[in-house]
Symmetry: C2
Subunit: 506 residues, 2 copies
Amino acid sequence: MLGLMRGAPALGRQHQRTWSTATTTATTAAAASKRVVRSTINDVRQLDDGARVAVGGWVKSVRKHKSVNFVNVNDGSCLAEMQITLPAADADEGASLDVNIADITVGSSLFVEGVLREVPGGKQKRMELHPDTLNILGKCDAQVYPLQKKYHSLEFLRENLHLRARTNTFGAVTRVRNALSQGLHSYFQDNDFLQLHSPILTSDDCEGAGEQFRIAKPDGKNEFFGTPTYLTVSGQLHAEMYACALSKVYTFGPTFRAENSNTTRHLAEFWMVEPEMAFAGLEECIESAQGAVQRSIKQALQACPDDIEFFNKNYDNAISERLQTLCDREFARITYTEAIEILKKCGASFEKNPEWGMDLQTEHERYLAEKYVGGPVFVTDYPSDIKAFYMRRNDRDAEGRETVAGMDLLVPKIGELVGGSVREERFELLEAKMRQLGLVPEELAEQAERSASGGSLDWYLDLRRFGTVPHAGWGLGFERLVLFATGMDNIRDVIPLPRFPGQCQH
Amino acid sequence: MLGLMRGAPALGRQHQRTWSTATTTATTAAAASKRVVRSTINDVRQLDDGARVAVGGWVKSVRKHKSVNFVNVNDGSCLAEMQITLPAADADEGASLDVNIADITVGSSLFVEGVLREVPGGKQKRMELHPDTLNILGKCDAQVYPLQKKYHSLEFLRENLHLRARTNTFGAVTRVRNALSQGLHSYFQDNDFLQLHSPILTSDDCEGAGEQFRIAKPDGKNEFFGTPTYLTVSGQLHAEMYACALSKVYTFGPTFRAENSNTTRHLAEFWMVEPEMAFAGLEECIESAQGAVQRSIKQALQACPDDIEFFNKNYDNAISERLQTLCDREFARITYTEAIEILKKCGASFEKNPEWGMDLQTEHERYLAEKYVGGPVFVTDYPSDIKAFYMRRNDRDAEGRETVAGMDLLVPKIGELVGGSVREERFELLEAKMRQLGLVPEELAEQAERSASGGSLDWYLDLRRFGTVPHAGWGLGFERLVLFATGMDNIRDVIPLPRFPGQCQH
């Protein structure tokens, strides 16, 4: 087999993949010398006629003809399949391959070496692989393989979570998800943010963000950690801890809600991105949210054009245009007070009538983004009564109403994608609010006791006690961004293994 | 204040930071126009004499002299501090600043605008800032601020977790941690791996990896998910699910152990990196582990040279050389059988005598890495009896002993940094092993029932039932890499908020 690869094209080192054919004792240089270079289909399809390659993958379709068989293979590196052209058994040429075409079924796995040939005709350049060697690595019994058929409903695939990554849709979701994630990292790393690995387990009972899962007592008596312990609902407070020391940080990790929400927008476990910036106000909050979302979408458009086109064709035919437009322009901005006026005057009928002081419903959010703006819009300065305790209070307006320096980013189809605010950095104002909510003990304990007390958020006040700074941050529900970028409708279809009430399979 | 910034140097757009001085209603263009560009100290220190800048930060030290005061400020963007040179109150020049120097104490926060001046003399170029405007954003009462003193023990700082990021050590740890993390992402992204956000919550009771935390029943009766639910101990099986569809994936997320380990090497919550590759054997496993670790360390050396030097000076004076050496050469490789022979013959006295069939202890691992190799070493082909069920069985050796195609990467000071293996892809062998361990039901249920059953690992067998492929992967305990790269001794000091038995503060 080695000889076959002598003429292998010089792919860049980072594109060379190897697969050991002798995995039994592959620890020595001898084993290494037996290896055959595997290339991804994504790399191979960009090579020219005559190139010698080896690819591995899973069979997507088999078309049998009189003198030739076409086997399409996918390896997950891209949406595109590589067509393997096999002479039929009765043709002389194919005898040397020594494979039974009946064993090549949908879902079986192959390792193939051979020569690339350009398929004549057609508008776009298309390559097929003429094999010298073809190994069937793993058969797949068509009688029992759940994904044997060509089309499967998303519902059916949700019941076969462990296999759904083998479909075009979930391969595309995984690639776009990866690109969106890397786009976010790139934005933050290029803008001086440090990634903060904030904890999942917490003894803070964080007010307002949602119901928390609790860790069971292992022996029914003792707490493992000595205090009641929960799964985090947000890394924000911990991000503030670090921003108030290192200026700019971001978290990117799983968060949890123990809420009985059976909707297409909610999960019990989902990933959040939460940047936090010191020496920053609402302007920085808005600019960084726009910058990060745009960078993330650009990365998906750039790295996964075929996947985006696939979603556009199969799931939402406005998605390509929507994503492109989003990258090209500034997001609109209106205040909450303006938003309520717009909603009151717009003439649309809502289930809940817009009134100053109410929280915006998804119907309102979508109207503003889809109908009024026709794109993403920041809504700022919400009434303080409907927002969390840590948001910075604005001066009262002319009518005596109190708002906070917060913002939500609303986008078409989704509604709220990002929520953020300036944080209340003024010790007296924050302390009064937190006492009112019972988040810190009524009597200020001594320093030593304060440090040791679990559960209390007094440590959060220390960030204002000692060298407080104006700071701001926001949170983005990552799965909502994946929904937005793919045009998929159900949040359970944009995370590898969805967790929601009644469902925690695998 | 605006006028001051007219001559501001043209930093690249990605280096411009702004800080709104009016955060109350910062939603309009009017507010934007009032903003002053903040630069990070890391950017500012590379500018030239005469540049106009604005920086924000926390005071690290104040030195008062007769006619001048020196205030050192850090903003977390680098280890270096910016020296602010303030005329003393009785000097004419300083009167316009209108600050009381007594309010500038260690831990207080400042926002300063002015002109950079090169400090004359000294070997290295050093800049100081002559301010036109200085705002004390937050005072810090020296009487109660826990970090008032210059030196604090690591133990003391562990009791002040919410403030320790303000010290040089924990700033440096956070920056190096960020660089190591980005280095790993870069390696995987450049080598066609897709990041897989594998779940924290799982109904799989994963054999062998360690004790699991369980989620409490919310109302004491019903399980939220309908099945007993645990915190994951490893994303490997889920990574295999996706590698057996998309070829190359990696997880990077928190994992958990409910073990009563009170050591300097163990945490109850820690971050793991787990790549998984289809069409791969032990050779790819070893190559990718070396590549990823080297890339990660290189990133830290490149992005954080001052921090690495700080650790070298203050914590482990061999760290710079150790990291540099690691990047420059291939890691050594020996088999487990060779390792046992080496340990038997070496003449060193161990607490536990080396014998074929035993698991290597940390004392053995460190001997091999530190004394025998003097650097990182892969040990391969361990006895199958001491390794997990999913590792691929090798052929028996000449003496009839059975090993698996697994590897551990051992490094000086730490011992095991990476553990990986080829996975058993042969259905019959894996099924027999799993039945023996009770991981799948004795009787094979019907397809429909199999899919719906929670808790059983039968889905894992499906990956071999349908188009199985040779595949391999490894796991790296991220905090151990941070320990290795910083020379710190206690794992509790290299994660923002450590969780271990009896401790889950904040």
